[in-house]
């Protein structure tokens, strides 16, 4: 195997595997010793959540593939309907997901996107 053929795997191993597992290993080592209630831990939690939230927002607002041609209001509307069902059914994850997906599928069918 040439380096060219291996390069994507090296890229995934370094930028994917190593980049995620160092935090998992640090988590094990921190284990009991870390102060769960410290202000630093609160900040780490906030930054970590905001990063994932930004990924979510990009997937909804700037989708690729089949969803790219669908209107933004339909995607945001489906999320809103899903959130309404989620809270109406006492934070039931399945209800929220089913409502959001149902709303999106209905909208796509009606609009013929």
């Amino acid at each position: 195997m040439t380096v060219d053929a291996l390069w994507p795997y090296i890229f995934i191993a370094v930028a994917g595997w190593l980049a995620t597992d160092i935090w998992r290993w640090l988590g094990v080592l921190a284990g009991n010793r870390i102060d769960e209630n410290s202000e630093t831990m609160n900040w780490v939690r906030a930054v970590a959540t905001a990063l994932v939230a930004a990924v979510i927002a990009k997937l909804i607002v700037y989708p690729t593939g089949e969803l790219e041609t669908s209107p933004l209001w339909l995607r945001v509307g489906a999320i809103a309907i899903g959130a309404a069902a989620f809270f109406a059914f006492r934070r039931n994850q399945l209800a929220g997901i089913a409502a959001a997906m149902g709303a999106l599928a209905f909208g796509l069918l009606v609009l013929g996107v």
């Binding site: 995934i12 995620t20 921190a30 284990g31 780490v44 906030a46 905001a50 990924v55 969803l67 934070r91």
Partner: protein, 248 residues
């Protein structure tokens, strides 16, 4: 001594199998559907299937993989990709740190926890935090291992198969599967949140993700995480301290 070891071995096997059966739980099934969506996404953008299966096994966390594929597509260099992915995975550290005291016994070797930590991602974490305390402590590591390793391997196979099937799906199915990923993440973060600052960070992170994409698309996720997250932390802290100050 020998008899005790045998009983321990049997208990571990029993709880490992109980963990494996978690593959048919609701969170596991939602995650598998999301992975079918991920397979559709990677097939669409043209990442070879061998690489998709490889990254499913070695990266495992779905948000990290979505970011990794994004950086690969934009032709980012290794360092830029590493920074973007590693920043998205910082949350693994508090997640694992919270899980370890829940499942370990005094005799659990650290190397075993280091190996098992690889299989921690949102779904396995939520599953273990919810159910581990119903399992006797001596069986928890085996229970978590059974669930999380099975879930990871099942999804490696699943993306390999789904990659070739999604091309034959009608476009509307592909669109819905793609949408399942953000919907699933959004609801997972909400149901697994144990601290108020998570809700603040989620709201501010959603808005700043779009905002920074408009201003600086190449660093949007990084900036949204650090700036948005810091704002959320400062805001929640300010509010919390004021509440404490107003208390009689």
């Amino acid at each position: 001594m020998e008899a005790e070891a045998t009983i321990d071995g049997q208990t571990s096997r029993y709880w490992f199998v109980q963990g494996m059966r978690g593959l048919w739980s609701v969170p596991a099934i939602i995650l598998m559907l999301s992975f079918v969506g991920f397979a559709a996404f990677t097939a669409e953008v043209g990442v070879p299937v061998e690489q998709v299966m490889f990254m499913t096994g070695v990266v495992w966390a779905l948000p990290a993989k979505v970011i990794l594929v994004g950086t690969m597509l934009s032709g980012a260099n290794l360092l830029t990709a590493f920074i973007a992915v590693t920043l998205s995975s910082v949350r693994m550290m508090p997640m694992v740190a919270a899980l370890v005291p829940e499942i370990r016994t005094r005799s659990t070797p650290t190397w075993l926890l280091l190996v098992l930590s690889h299989f921690v991602a949102i779904t396995a974490w939520v599953f273990a935090m919810e159910r581990a305390h119903h399992v006797p402590r001596s069986g928890r590591v085996a229970y978590f291992a059974g669930f999380s390793i099975t879930l990871t391997l099942a999804n490696v196979l699943l993306v390999g198969i789904a990659y070739f099937l999604v091309a034959q799906f009608p476009p509307i199915v592909g669109a819905c599967l793609f949408f399942l990923t953000p919907v699933y993440f959004l609801s997972s973060i909400w149901v697994s949140a144990r601290h108020r600052v998570i809700y603040w960070a989620l709201g501010i992170g959603l808005v700043s993700g779009v905002l920074f994409h408009e201003v600086a698309p190449e660093f949007d996720i990084l900036l949204a995480g650090v700036i948005g997250g810091t704002l959320a932390w400062a805001g929640e802290r300010h509010w919390r301290l004021r509440q404490a100050g107003n208390a009689p």
